[in-house]
Amino acid sequence: MTTTDDQSVGMDYLESFPRRFLRVYLPLGLIICFLLFPFYWMAIATFKPDAEMYDYEKYNPFWIVHPTFEHIKKLFFDTDYPLWMWNTVIVSVSSTFISLFASVCAAYAIERLRYKGSRYVGLAIFLGYLVPPSILFIPLAATVFQLGLFDGNLALILTYPTFLIPFCTWLLMGYFRTIPYELEECALIDGATRLQILMKITLPLSLPGVISAGIFAFTLSWNEFIYALTFISSSENKTIPVGAITELVNGDVYHWGALMAAALTGSVPVVILYSFFVEYYVSAMTGAVKE
């Protein structure tokens, strides 16, 4: 091998395959196996009968001999799981839409109306993004209790926007900034109101940004744990993550099969949604960091 072939970015087709395999594909493959293994393990435990799950001598733990739907059936019919799923959907969808509405208005006002002090408000909203839920949950629990929202979906629907609005507003401000002023000026001269401009020009042009923010906000609220754990006490009001942790463990008896089934079925909806909107999701994630 000569000394020049691997030194050029545009010329790595000259690199021999075994060398490239060792340098790129092998480490990449190992890291991907490490990243995917817990999902494989979750899926395989979901469909494994108890007899195989707790007997590694007779059965190879990496495979299933007699797949079963027993755990999923138990989860759906013997627990409140369908209710948790319903709560999670309601809470995620509502809090996402509330946050999107509030964020679109706020981002438009900060970026385009440029009222007095809008820069400072924008900065304050960004700082709000840095306040972690694990600092906020104790006083927020007190607030939720004072307002009489404790142990209900509304407690979550109204508190999730506290971490969604700063994020969505920040992301949308970046998108609105890319739309040329001239378009709005033309519309203003033609006599359009600000609301018409927002609805008919700015929003349609920044639709990718709105979708990105929406998808990301939805997955964040689906994943949320600490608020749901603190503000909800009765089983029928819980969300999937909280229900799985608190209701499927009886003292020292862990229902591993049902736990894994809950983990798998609770992840699948998010993953399906994500798989349709990967590009939007990535642009939301990286956009929030880049700005």
């Binding site: 009222y115 408000v121 709000g128 694990s134 997955t219 754990l229 909280v242 799985a244 993953v271 798989s275």
Partner: protein, 315 residues
């Protein structure tokens, strides 16, 4: 005379239009801000202030608290469990962040290569970040089970160990186990955001370096790292922030055990405030996180941010 009057009228007219436009813009702006500001004040700013106050009271769940000044902090200062949680939090943050950065940067560099099915690989890599943390933590809980751990089984079959490892029963094993789970969850975020940064580096820089005879290592050291450092600063700030305030992984996998060996400040504050009912003390623990957080943010942000000029801004 007539001309002067006319121009004066025009001036008055213009200035009143200006002020009107300005007023209406401020008014409109305020109207547009109402939904966001209302929610953020009621559920973010107010609780934040309430938390600072709660930390100085002896409030219990269902009771009214008395102001006790720094009483909570004085008793926490003598509380060995609190100091253990501070140590755990710092250890957890450092160990996990360093490894996440190393693997994340390496993975980003690998993904920046010419690859078949590149976008699909990227989508798969991001999965651990997308899936609800608590649910993937359940899988880790099962992987770390003392009797049925698959890691122990494989190592035993390979002849590397003689009996099953007690992952979550021994303090240091438990600490490293939760760090590993955190790394698993955090690597995709670091890798994908750094990849986005890598893609903005102009190939012409590498071509110029090639012409000058730079080696792979030199190109990484003198082009990739400096061009990437602003985004590294932001990504690592976020990563440190998320790790320092982590709650879900610990609560799911160990609940702070064994003998408080994995309690983070966040899980300890939950245990004291919600499980134990001492809201005031829990709030004080939460508040004790704030100086650490601010320090971590300032350190990682300003420590790495100094090279603004690389993106065309001023130094």
């Amino acid at each position: 005379m007539a001309v002067m009057a006319e121009s004066a009228v025009a001036q008055v007219k213009r200035s009143s239009m200006w002020t009107r436009a300005f007023e209406s813009r401020n008014f409109l702006g305020a109207m547009f801000m109402v939904p966001a500001i209302a929610i953020l004040i009621l559920f973010l700013a107010y609780p934040l202030a309430l938390g600072l106050w709660l930390g100085m009271t002896d409030t219990k769940i269902g009771g009214v608290g008395r102001y006790i000044g720094f009483g909570n902090f004085v008793s926490l200062a003598k509380d060995s469990v609190f100091w253990l949680s501070v140590f755990n939090t710092i250890f957890y943050t450092f160990a996990a962040s360093i490894v996440k950065f190393a693997i994340g940067l390496y993975l980003a560099l690998l993904l920046n290569e010419r690859l078949p099915f590149k976008s699909m690989i990227r989508a798969i890599v991001l999965l651990p970040f997308v899936v609800p943390t608590v649910l993937s933590a359940i899988a880790f809980w099962w992987i770390y089970d003392s009797q049925f751990s698959i890691i122990s089984w494989v190592l035993l079959k390979a002849g590397l160990i003689t009996r099953y490892i007690d992952f979550l029963g021994d303090p240091w094993n438990a600490r490293w186990s939760v760090v590993a789970a955190n790394i698993w969850r955090g690597v995709p975020f670091v890798a994908i955001t750094l990849l986005a940064g890598l893609q903005t580096i102009s190939p012409s820089l590498y071509e110029a370096a090639n012409l000058d005879g730079a080696t792979n290592l030199q190109r990484f050291r003198h082009i990739t790292l400096p061009m990437l450092s602003p985004i590294i600063a932001v990504v690592m700030t976020f990563s440190v922030l998320m790790t320092f305030t982590d709650f879900q992984l610990i609560y799911t996998i160990t609940r702070g055990g064994p003998i408080n060996a994995t309690h983070l400040m966040a899980t300890l504050s939950f245990q004291r405030a919600i499980t134990g009912g001492n809201l005031g003390e829990g709030a004080a623990i939460s508040n004790a996180m704030i100086p650490f957080l601010v320090a971590a943010i300032l350190l990682s942000f300003f420590g790495l941010q100094r090279s603004r000029w690389q993106q065309g801004g001023r130094d």
